[in-house]
Symmetry: C2
Subunit: 391 residues, 2 copies
């Protein structure tokens, strides 16, 4: 294409190397920036997207047409990035503090969960104008009118958004299929202080974690009229032992694979194996340390597990879902923050915050194929997320 500009005096617009499909964004949490890695050429692109705001826990969404990426930040600044040129092409301040982002199935709306002022913002993805705001208003037990923080927003089947209000302890289901998004269902969670949530990969269940409480709120999105159901994941064998606390980490760390859910247990060196039809714990898999993330391979054959604690946090253990045993472990940098498989499962991207590096690992041989220096790397987001539900 650039060749066609040969006879023109103006400088041709420079375009980043590589294709959109293998572009991977890496959150630089202390730098307010996104580094961009090209998976195909295995190079860090010179283009970096900067001045994005407070990137702690920053999450990205991608438009279905792969024209744009969106990033929401703890500063409340939402930025739209041109996926072709890697330039910021629009931004809006949606609040003082945003925590989460999702895009509707048809790509028309971007939704952000706001901490303050608390609620759900719905933006037109094209103009970035706010087309709706659902405040987290509720009546506290003492009768006072309060506003709750919101979190855990996901896209759900039927062009919906689902989110949870923290202080109000309520689940919101928003219908975004029409011209104006509306609240379709709003009902109580099963306990106080929900703090994180996720949708199962089949789009069926919305699962909410609660602070200092091992109850979970389970919503069957195919039957939202039934409201929330309380769920408790307890390993009977472990529970029979004295004083073993069963706690749950944040929900994005669960892995669904081959009909089971692999749940990292907080404060225990184990993954719980849960049957999502009964939501009962069928067993546990012992690990080298306390797990943080459990990430399934796209073909669901393996679960890659990262850890907390200095002795373990440079290691990944690999669980075989056919036998539910640890079959391998590898050391990757230091203090691993995030892992993601490439969409057909051939490689794993690992951001190692303690090593200030991004690693590319061969999923089959476990060999580290590439290492790129990136300051304070955190979340890793590939363009292929455009085509996945609930991200």
């Amino acid at each position: 294409m650039l060749a066609a500009l040969g006879g023109c005096d103006a400088a041709p617009p420079s375009e980043p190397a590589g294709g959109i499909g293998t572009r991977v964004f890496v959150v630089q949490r202390e730098e307010g920036a996104l580094a961009v890695y090209d998976l195909q050429s295995r190079t860090l692109l010179p283009e970096r997207v900067e001045e994005l705001g407070n990137m702690r826990h920053a999450v990205m969404a991608f438009s279905p047409d792969l024209e744009h990426a969106f990033v929401a930040t703890r500063s409340g600044l939402l930025t739209r990035i041109d996926l072709q040129t890697l330039e910021r092409d629009a931004s809006i301040v949606t609040s003082d503090n945003s925590i989460d982002i999702a895009i509707s199935q048809d790509g028309r709306f971007v939704a952000t969960a706001e901490y303050h002022p608390g609620g759900i913002s719905i933006l037109d993805a094209e103009s970035l104008e706010r087309v709706a705001f659902f405040p987290g208003d509720f009546t506290a037990p003492d009768g006072a009118a309060r506003t709750s923080r919101a979190t855990g927003i996901v896209d759900a089947p039927g062009d919906r958004f689902v989110a949870v209000l923290i202080e109000a302890a309520e689940v919101l289901i928003i219908d975004a299929s029409g011209d104006e998004p509306t609240i379709e269902h709003r009902f109580p969670a099963v306990a106080r202080d929900p703090y994180d949530a996720m949708i199962t990969p089949d789009g069926r269940y919305y699962v909410v974690g609660h602070m200092e409480n091992d109850l979970l709120t389970l919503v069957d999105l195919e039957h939202p009229e039934q409201g929330a159901r309380a769920l408790r994941l307890v390993d009977e064998a472990l529970a029979a032992q004295a004083d073993v606390p069963i706690k749950l980490p944040h929900m994005a760390s669960w892995a669904f694979a081959r009909g089971r859910v692999y749940v990292p247990m907080v404060g225990l060196p184990a993954l719980a194996v849960v049957n999502p039809e009964t939501w009962e714990v069928e067993g546990t898999i012992e690990l080298r340390g306390n797990p943080v993330y459990a990430v399934r391979s796209p073909v669901e054959r393996e679960i890659w597990v990262s850890f907390s604690g200095e002795e373990d946090d440079a290691w990944v253990q690999i669980v075989d879902t056919a036998t539910n045993t640890v079959v391998d472990e590898i050391e990757v940098g230091a203090r691993i923050y995030h892992m993601d498989f490439t969409p057909r499962g051939s490689h794993v991207l690992v951001s190692a915050n303690g090593a200030n590096a991004l690693y590319l690992v061969d999923a089959r041989t476990r060999a580290i194929l590439d290492e790129e220096p990136i300051q304070s790397p955190s979340g890793v987001f590939g363009a292929w997320r455009a085509f996945r539900l609930g991200l």
Copy 2:
């Protein structure tokens, strides 16, 4: 980007409207061409890709970086298309007659199954040079050296390709993870004349159909050293009735959803419901006519079924996988050839050959949202296939 060219006298290169992610290619089987539909704007683009060869049963593959699409044809002409400009940017004749195409997980190799001369071609995706050819040579029962046609090529976990040789009745597993693709396993199918094959969405099984035989060849790709296993899908209740033939159509028509496989039965107005752990038929779902394709929604909640026969082939029946019953039916044009869900499940694309049209259907309301005139439409291929295994 075009704005930056404002001061330049040369005509800016014209680029097709819309983003790569929502580009959908529709095979025009009698025109040797691909029509291009933009899902986001719901418009047929003026750009059409032509002179591609004999497009009967033409199949496409997409590079992981979304720079290129590849189409193999019955004329043996393989064409690479620039996904951004929609122009043909390279081509090669791989044989007199190609039937199928796949791309390796890392995007380095494109493989085509050849009818004549029979075998598997492996091309460098960048240069389009043929880097390997595995001829379908075999020794016939009469002792003569013969060459078999190849078909059913797919990409498989671990950067492999799997294909089947028709006359030789053999399965080939090719390791494409190194610099030179090599045959890793080669073993007999369980019956004569395999004619089509598919890989299960979890990348575990390769299933081969045989002509005039209700036996299937089943290969566990996690244990290829075990060779092929014979499989027969028989509904015991139907088999108990007299003279009911159980035949199977081509394999791409099977739908895997929520732990079951929905298999269109040939010559019977029914879907068989198969348990893929035991490969036993657990029951059947009665339909309005003889099914052709069963297509699952991405969240696996519904199976959309198309039909053969003038009375039924304009209709789609929708099966709910929670109850295994038909819950809806809709009429879409005439003589439906292909259906595909958009990647997060909000819409269904339907090519209706008898109506010379492509339809966009709202998966939730079942309303037809758009109809575009396209001569002799057949297969529908969205760019999101770049990120799916086995396509």
